[in-house]
């Protein structure tokens, strides 16, 4: 019998390799999507992580936590892969030692924060909304100021990050940029 196409054995090996490769790929994606991985480098552990431990997303009434990837890595596959590819650039800077001291980190901080603000503004604070969905917010049970701002804010198509900067970290040095502080328009 003349052999046509790919032999069965090659096909089987291919499928097995495929599964292994795919599994390994997803496995490493998952492994790098944990808080332990995020704070395994001292740049993160000594700066943002220690600050985060004092905030509502680490320590709160109900004991529910948001971890680094909850806010910084998209859940949907396509966006996740895109963010992971960008992250290799961060590894490159890790090797260069771009922010290996607290001072260097503080100097770079406004720029780093802006990247996150821009990303969240662009995607309508998608990662926040994975946990907090305004369709299910019971305004009357919120505080006076929260209720006012949420009703007015969402009507004017503002998004979470417009009003809630610094919910998990200390904010960068912006007092000089905008004397009235916070609501930074850019």
């Amino acid at each position: 019998m003349a052999k046509k196409g790919i032999p069965l054995s090659v096909l089987i090996i291919g499928v097995i390799l495929g599964i292994l490769f795919w599994g390994g790929f997803n496995w490493s994606l998952e492994l790098t999507n944990t808080e332990e991985f995020c704070i395994s480098c001292h740049e993160m552990r000594d700066n943002v992580y220690v600050e985060y431990k004092d905030t509502i997303h680490y320590n709160n009434r109900t004991g529910v936590r948001a971890t680094c990837p909850d806010c910084h890595v998209p859940r949907e596959w396509v966006y996740k892969i895109r963010r992971k590819i960008q992250a290799t650039n961060e590894l490159y800077h890790k090797v260069l030692g771009t922010i290996d001291t607290r001072e260097k980190f503080e100097a770079k901080r406004l720029e780093l924060a802006r990247h996150e603000w821009d990303r969240m503004k662009e995607n309508d604070s998608r990662e926040c909304r994975n946990c907090h969905n305004y369709d299910y917010m019971d305004y009357p049970s919120q505080g006076r100021r929260a209720m006012d701002n949420h009703i007015r804010g969402f009507d004017n198509s503002l998004t979470c990050i417009d009003c809630h900067k610094g919910v998990a970290h200390e904010l960068p040095d912006m007092y000089k940029d905008d004397a009235s502080a916070v609501i930074l328009k850019h």
Partner: protein, 147 residues
């Protein structure tokens, strides 16, 4: 000779021990529990939820903060309070704007921005818990401030 010195030392140590014990019995601890006991549990207070501005009792009184401020960052780099109370933001946020005194330095000169001595808001303005006053207070506001 050596023996006598040793004896004296032993008696001294004994005496010191005794008097220390007597002292410990008389000393009153400010914690409200005896020295060798654990502290009593602190009373846990809850901050009040957002409410309307609280009436003031005299003209120069820093108004009390009628809302939660947990997690608000006020550092040399950033001032969360001003994101609502500054002159540029108060209208959009429906908050009271800081008064002109907040721009004055100690010589009375008016600065172009919040004066350093008025920058750290919670030095003077404090949020409220539902607590009984620690000491009795019979202060009465003047007629004009009465509410």
């Amino acid at each position: 000779m050596k023996k006598i010195i040793l004896m004296r030392m032993a008696v001294m140590v004994g005496l010191i021990g005794l008097s220390a014990h007597a002292l410990a019995e008389n000393v009153q601890s400010l914690r409200g529990a005896a020295l060798e006991e654990n502290s009593t549990d602190a009373i846990v207070m809850q901050y009040q939820k957002d409410e309307e501005p609280i009436p003031r009792d005299y003209l120069q009184q820093p108004p009390l903060i009628p809302h939660q401020i947990a997690g608000y960052q006020v550092t040399i780099k950033h001032n969360k309070c001003l994101s609502c109370h500054s002159w540029s933001n108060y209208k959009a946020k429906g908050a009271t704007k800081i008064s002109q005194t907040h721009f004055e330095n100690r010589d009375g000169a008016v600065m172009s921005n919040v004066s350093a001595r008025r920058y750290f808001c919670s030095q003077c303005h404090v949020p409220q818990v539902d607590a009984e006053p620690l000491v009795e207070n019979t202060f009465e506001p003047v007629d004009a401030m009465r509410h």
